[in-house]
Structures are given as structure tokens and as C-alpha cells.
């Protein structure tokens, strides 16, 4: 108990004195997960909307794949990305293994199904007659789709939050394809694991508090984006 108390105090000191090591880890975490989230959103939102609004043979199979992806264990994704990028893998020539780029790739694979799946569910939840109404008011197909997306924005934002939550807090894939290299691929989650193992509880707690704070701030920002839709 005393250890936790002193750890908390140390943690607050590290945070408020702007410790360089902590700052570097936080910055890299935000960079890796931020880029992965942007890429996942750019691909996942249109793909999820398309899945919701289109009808084609094999659609149910694709949806099943997306749902499976939503529950894919990060450590398995880490393993797959590792195998693909390793010396004997098909993409070894990229030399991405144990770099932030490999971590971004793994996180995109993790977040994409979450963003696409939740977006699809949100768009399916909108009254589809609204699309017909938009078309009958003179909307092009694209404008009608945008109208539906606007209606589903609450769910789309939830999908982005879910994607961010999924990748910023995962440790398995980041550890496997990043390698937790100090100053290069050490992010919040992998650093927490390492510092806990080393017995540096103050640093581990500080990083844990920061991770929670990042999640809270991200959710607060998303809530602001949702605006009046929540009222």
C-alpha cells in the first residue's frame, strides 16, 4: 500500500516536472496511435458506410470478417505482422520490423475493423428512408450518403473512439513488432510493462495515469464533436 502511495507521488512529480523520458514515451505513443487512427478512420468510415448501404453477393461474409476482426486478439495481429515483416517474410525488404512504422501497421489492422464495424452499425441504425428522402429532395448519391453519415455521426464518432481505445491501450502487438526499444519504439503500454517488471512503480504509475488521461481527453474531445446530438 505504501508502495502505491509513494509511487503515486513520484508519478505526479514526474508528470508535473515534465520528465524528458516520460515526455518522449507519450509523444511516440500519440504519434503511432494518432497516425494509425487517422489511417483507420480514412479507410474504415467509408468502408463501413459502403458495407451498410450496398448490397452484393458475399456481403454477409465480408461483414462476418469485419466482426471477426473487431475481436481479433492484438497479440495474434502482432504475430502476423511480425511474420510478414521478419527476415523470411514477404515484406522483409521494407525493413519495418522494430520500427514505429511496423507498430502503426499493426495498429491500423487492429483499429480498421473496429472503425468499419461500428460505422456500419451506426449507418444501418439510421432510417434508410432518409436516404430516399434526401434523393427526392435533389441530392446526388454522394450527397445522400453524406446526409446518412451526418445522421449516424454519433455512432461514427463512437467507432473512432473505440478504434483509438483499442490501439492506444494494446500491448501485445506493440511489443512484438516494435520491440520496446528505448527512444525508438517504446510506447506507454510497453513501457508500463517494462517498468513494472523492473520494479520502477513510480514511473509505471506515472505512465498509467498519463494513459488514462490521454483516453479521457480523447473521449472528451469526441464528446465535444458529438455536440447537440447527445442532448
Amino acid at each position: 500500500m505504501q508502495e502505491i502511495g509513494s509511487g503515486l507521488l513520484q508519478a505526479l512529480r514526474l508528470i508535473f516536472t515534465g520528465d524528458a523520458v516520460v515526455g518522449e514515451i507519450v509523444l511516440l505513443s500519440l504519434q503511432v496511435s494518432g497516425i494509425a487512427l487517422v489511417l483507420s478512420t480514412l479507410a474504415g468510415v467509408p468502408f463501413g458506410s459502403w458495407l451498410a448501404l450496398s448490397r452484393f453477393s458475399g456481403r454477409r461474409f465480408v461483414i462476418a470478417l469485419v466482426y471477426t476482426g473487431m475481436g481479433f486478439p492484438p497479440v495474434v495481429i502482432g504475430l502476423l505482422v511480425y511474420l510478414v515483416l521478419s527476415q523470411s517474410g514477404p515484406l522483409a525488404f521494407l525493413h519495418w520490423l522494430f520500427t514505429p512504422t511496423a507498430m502503426i501497421a499493426a495498429q491500423v489492422i487492429m483499429a480498421f475493423p473496429l472503425v468499419a464495424g461500428f460505422t456500419m452499425a451506426a449507418v444501418l441504425g439510421v432510417n434508410q428512408s432518409l436516404r430516399q428522402q434526401a434523393l427526392s429532395l435533389g441530392a446526388t448519391q454522394r450527397q445522400a450518403t453524406l446526409a446518412i453519415l451526418r445522421e449516424a455521426r454519433l455512432g461514427v464518432i463512437v467507432s473512432i473512439v473505440a478504434g483509438f481505445g483499442g490501439i492506444i491501450s494494446e500491448v501485445g502487438a506493440a511489443m512484438m513488432v516494435g520491440g520496446n526499444i528505448e527512444g525508438s519504439t517504446r510506447v506507454l503500454t510497453t513501457a508500463i510493462v517494462l517498468e513494472t517488471r523492473k520494479g520502477n512503480f513510480d514511473l509505471a504509475i506515472a505512465l498509467g495515469i498519463i494513459l488514462l488521461a490521454v483516453m479521457f481527453l480523447a473521449n472528451a474531445a469526441m464528446l465535444r464533436l458529438q455536440g447537440r446530438a447527445l442532448d
Binding site: S136, L137, T140, A147, R150, E151, R228
Partner: protein, 245 residues
Amino acid sequence: MGDALYRLTAAAKRYGDKEACFIESLEISKGEVLGVMGPSGAGKSTLLRLLAFLEPPTSGVVSFLGFNADVASRPPLEVRRKVTMVFPAPLLFNGTAWDNVAYGLRLRGIKAEEVERRVRAVLDNVGLLPIARVQAATLSSGEARRVALARSFVIEPEVLLLDEPTANLDPYNVALVEGLLSRINREHGTTVVLVTHSVFQARRLAHRMTLLLDGRIVEVGKTEQVFTAPRDARTAAFFGGEMVY
């Protein structure tokens, strides 16, 4: 009334094995109010969707202003934008009453001042200007329906397709909407196709009437003639309340 605006020739719409509607031949003249009646499931809404080009006919042709809509093609956007449809449910978007009414104008890239002027005028006409900035989700059903109608009126379309526009409205709102429809038809020459279950409303508004049964036109003619001297025995049975369906 004047030239034929629409011409439907053997226009059919099927959903799987079910034929929702088959219109052997129907012309709708520019500037007329055509009332469409029939029991539930007779194909009235399907007919409106064909006229709105929301769905292509499975076979046959819907001709409008010289453009043909068939299974493979439909009129270009600028032609489709001459037609608008009001659904039985108000189907409002998230946002204010004002945002909803302005939607169609903004789609067309109309300048903000012009949008402001037209939205204000139409909201005033339907008695909703005081609640223009109220969120659509909080409107009463009567207000929501009037917003939906205003959203279509403001576009000033050549054709208004109305699917039970006064369903569930109180007498005051029914009179208000009917008055507006008459005025729009009279002053702008807007062609109106009105699906209604109200015989009284049809008699008040429609120049011509058509009765649909099982997706097919049983009778079409001048309103008074259809009601007082129907040519088809099924029409008399339907309006006499003797038809069981």
C-alpha cells in the same frame, strides 16, 4: 391543365416474385392535381416512387419531360430535381426546422441570402417561423409534418408527389396544408400527385382521380365523375365501403 408531363407505358415494379404495381397507361398533365386512392398495399406508394425516380421500373417506361426512365436508365439530376416527394412519415434530418427546410436549396448551391429569403417565406406560410430554430427532434408530429412539406415547397418543384400528407393531422393543420397545396398549384402551376385515404380531401383538391387495386389502375377520370358516376363497379364498391380487402 395542359400538356402531358408524365407518360407511363406498361410500367411495372416487382419485388422478387411480387408485382407491386403495373401501370398499363397513365398520363399526368402539367399543372393538374391527380388524386390517387386505393386500399393499403394497392401500389400507391410504389407508383409515387416510380414517378419520383427513386426506383426504376422493372419493365416498361416512365417518361417525364421527354426523358425516359426504364430498367437501365433514369433522367439526369437536373431533370430529377424538378420532382420532389413527401413521404408518409416526416423523415426530418437532425438539426433545426430551418436546417431541414434549407436542405434542398443548399444541395442546389443556392446563395445564402436567397436561401434565407425563401426559407423564411415558406416557414412563415406554414406558420412555423417562430420555431424555425427549434431542433427537429423536439417538434410535435403536426409541426414535423409541416416542416417536411415546407422542405418540399421551398424548392418550388414542377411536380410534388405527396404520400398521405395530412395523415394524423388535426383539422386546423389539414386545412392549412390543403390551402397551401391549392395555392402552390394555382399560383405556380405545380403538378401535384396526391395519395390520400380521405375521400373528402380528394374531392377538395384533385382535378382528376385514379383508383388503384392490386397494383393496377381500375379507373381514372375527373374527380366528380369518378365519385358520382364511376365506370367500373369496383370503384363504386370501394367508395361505397363495400369492398373488403
